[in-house]
Symmetry: C2
Subunit: 364 residues, 2 copies
C-alpha cells in the first residue's frame, strides 16, 4: 500500500511540470560570482543581515528559479573538493571533521545511504522496472521547480557518483588541513590528488553498494571536480579504497574533460548520452544539478527547493545524498537566512516561567 503510493509519487514527479506557488527570491550579496567557497563564505558573513522570506520546505517555488538554459549568467561555481568552509584553528579538529571522519553517527548515516542505493538499484534490476527506467539526470532546459527527465530506451544502466566525501573520505588531506589550520590552496589540493592515493578510505557502505551494482550489471561511473591532469592518481585512489576500477574517459569524468568548468551538468549529459543513469550519488546539491549552485539562490530558497515535492520525491529514490558538514555549499547563511523569523524564541528567563509571575508562556 505504501509502496504503491511511493510509485505513484515518482510517476507524478517524472511526468512533467509541477504547479508552483510564487515565492519571491531576493538577490543577495551571495550573488557575486566567486570560485572559492572559503572566500565566498567570509564575504557572506561580513554582509548585512538579510531578511529574506523563508518559504517552508514542501512549498512550490517561483519560476524565477532559473532553467538550465539560463544558468550561464550569474552562475556560481561549485566548490572544488576538500575546501574547508572556514579557517580552522591550528591543530584543532573542527566539529564537522569530528562528525564526518570520527563518529559512529556519520558512519551509520553513510551506510544507511548506500544501503538505500543498493536496494533502489536491486528493485530496478529485480522487478523488471528496467524497461521503464528514466534518466535521473535533469534534462537540458528543465528547471528545479519543473524537473524533467528523459526516457532511457535501450541504454545500459549506470550509477554516477561524485568522489570526494561521497565515495572516499580524504583523511590524509583533512588531517593535514586540521594540523596546519590554513585556508584552502588549490595547488596543495592538486598535490593531494597526485600523492595521496593511499591516504583515503571508502565512505562506509560505498564498497558494499558498488560491488552489488557491478554484480548486477550496472556500470559505476565517477563524475568529479578533481583535475583531469591527475586522472591516473585518482584512478589509484579509487582502487586503493576498493571502489575501482575507474578509467578516465569511460568510467571516470573529471574537471577539464569538458572544457574546464566546475559545473557537472555537461559531463552528466555526456554520460547520459550513452547510459541510462538510474542513480546519482553526491554530498553537494551540485552533484545532482548545477542549478542548485545559482548565485541568486539564498540558503533558505535552496533548502526549500531541495525539499519541494518535485525534488523531495527523488531523495533516496534516484538521488542519494551523503553527509558532509566539513566543506561545501551547505555551509553558508547568516542567522537571518538559517532561522525563519516566525521560529525565533527568546528565553523568558527563570521568573517568566514561574507560575506566580503571570507571564509564563504555557505550551498549547
Amino acid at each position: 500500500m505504501i509502496r504503491a503510493l511511493a510509485a505513484v509519487s515518482l510517476m507524478a514527479l517524472t511526468s512533467g511540470c509541477i504547479a508552483a506557488a510564487v515565492v519571491p527570491i531576493a538577490a543577495s550579496s551571495s550573488a557575486i560570482v566567486k570560485s572559492r567557497m572559503a572566500e565566498k563564505r567570509a564575504a557572506h558573513q561580513g554582509a548585512a543581515p538579510q531578511t529574506l522570506p523563508a518559504p517552508s520546505a514542501g512549498e512550490g517555488l517561483t519560476n524565477l528559479v532559473p532553467t538550465l538554459k539560463e544558468r550561464q549568467v550569474g552562475a556560481e561555481a561549485p566548490p572544488a573538493p576538500g575546501i574547508p568552509a572556514t579557517l580552522p584553528a591550528r591543530g584543532v579538529v573542527p566539529e564537522g571533521m569530528q562528525y564526518l571522519y570520527g563518529s559512529g553517527e556519520a558512519s551509520a548515516g553513510s551506510i544507511q545511504a548506500y544501503r538505500a542505493l543498493q536496494r533502489y538499484l536491486a528493485d530496478i534490476v529485480t522487478y523488471g522496472k528496467k524497461g521503464a527506467a528514466r534518466q535521473v539526470v535533469l534534462s537540458d532546459g528543465a528547471s528545479l521547480n519543473a524537473p524533467q527527465f528523459e526516457p532511457c530506451g535501450p541504454k545500459p544502466l549506470a550509477v554516477v557518483l561524485d568522489i570526494d566525501e561521497t565515495a572516499v573520505l580524504n583523511l590524509g588531506y583533512e588531517a593535514d588541513a586540521a594540523r596546519r589550520g590554513e585556508s584552502y590552496d588549490a595547488a596543495r589540493w592538486s598535490r593531494w590528488e597526485q600523492s595521496g592515493a593511499d591516504k583515503v578510505v571508502a565512505v562506509p557502505g560505498a564498497k558494499m553498494a558498488l560491488d552489488a551494482a557491478r554484480a548486477a550489471g550496472i556500470t559505476v561511473i565517477f563524475n568529479s571536480n578533481r583535475l583531469a591532469e591527475n586522472a591516473a592518481a585518482t584512478e589509484a585512489a579509487l582502487a586503493h579504497a576498493g571502489l575501482g576500477p575507474a578509467k578516465h574517459g569511460t568510467t571516470l569524468w573529471l574537471k577539464g574533460d569538458d572544457g574546464g568548468g566546475s559545473g557537472k551538468d555537461d559531463r552528466r549529459w555526456a554520460i547520459a548520452s550513452g547510459y541510462c543513469v538510474i542513480a546519482l550519488v553526491g554530498d553537494q546539491l551540485g552533484d545532482f544539478s548545477d542549478l542548485f549552485n545559482e548565485a541568486r539562490l539564498a540558503p533558505s530558497t535552496r533548502r526549500a527547493l531541495a525539499g519541494s515535492p518535485a525534488l523531495a520525491a527523488l531523495w533516496g529514490n534516484g538521488w542519494f545524498m551523503l553527509p558532509n558538514p566539513v566543506y561545501g555549499t551547505a555551509l553558508k547563511g547568516s542567522a537571518d537566512e538559517i532561522f525563519p523569523h516566525d521560529m525565533r524564541w527568546t528565553d523568558p528567563g527563570p521568573a517568566a516561567t514561574a507560575p506566580a509571575a503571570g507571564t509564563a508562556v504555557q505550551p498549547k
Copy 2:
C-alpha cells in the same frame, strides 16, 4: 538477487553472535563520567594526544566491549538534547547549524532517511514479514559485538523515535543559542521545552513517514530525554510540527519515566514489552543502545562498532540515523582519535611534486 542477499545478511545478523577479532581498547581521558557533553569535550581537547589503535570500519571488535549487564559501572550519560558541543561565538551561526538547519543538503539527507524508514515499514507490512518480525531493540544482556534480538510474537507493531533533531528541529532554541553564544544551561533548555512548542518544525520527511506508518497500523512512539515534568509542552511541540498525536505514558516516554536516568534502554525495554518495535529512529547512537555511550569507548572504537558487520546490517534496515553535526556524542575526539596514523599525509610542497626533483610521491 541483491535483495535476497540483503535478507540473508539480516538473518545472519539477528541469529546470534558474530565472530569477533580482538582489537585493544585503551582507557582514555574520556572515561571520566560527566553528564554534559560541552564540559566533556572541553576537557577532552585539553588532554594529551592519544595514540589509540584505529580499527577500520567493518572489523570485528573485542569482547572488552561491555554488555548491557555491565554498563552500570563507568557508563557515560548521554547528552541532553540541544547541547552545543562547543561555545559558539556570539551572533555567529556555527557551521553545524548552517548545515543542519539551513542547507538543502541536510534536508535531502533527512528526507532520504525517512523515505528509507517508510519503505522498510511498507516492506514488512506488505510482504507478509510481520509474522516473522523481531524486535530491533537490543536484548537485555546482549553486547554490541554480539547483538541479539527477541522474537516479537503477536505484539502490535511500533516504531520508536527520538524527538530532538530526529523528529523535530529546535529552531527557536538554536537561534537563541547562536545569538547569545552561551554554553548549555539545563534550566534554559527546560524553559525551552515549556515555552517553545510553536518554534519547532518537523525534520524534513518525518511527517511523510509517520503518517504512512500510522496509516499502515503501526504505532508511533517517542522516547526522549526531554523531561517528564514538561510532557504536556512536548506533546504540544510534536502536534505543532504535525507529528502527533503523542500521549505521555503511552506513545511518549520521557526522562523521569523510569527513575530519572538519561539512558534510554530501560524505556526501550518497557516499550518492547508491549510492542514489536520494528524500527528505531535517532540522531545519536544512544537512541539505539546505551552501550554506545560507554565512557571506555574511544571515538575510533565507537565508529568501528557502528560500522561492524553485525551492526552495519541494521542501518537503514531497522535502525535509522538522522544527521546532527550540531551537538551530541558525534562531536568528540582529538586529531589522533579522528585520523588513523596510517592515513596521515603531509603536503610535499611544490618542489617535491615537480618531476625534476626526483622525490615525487607518484600515485600507484
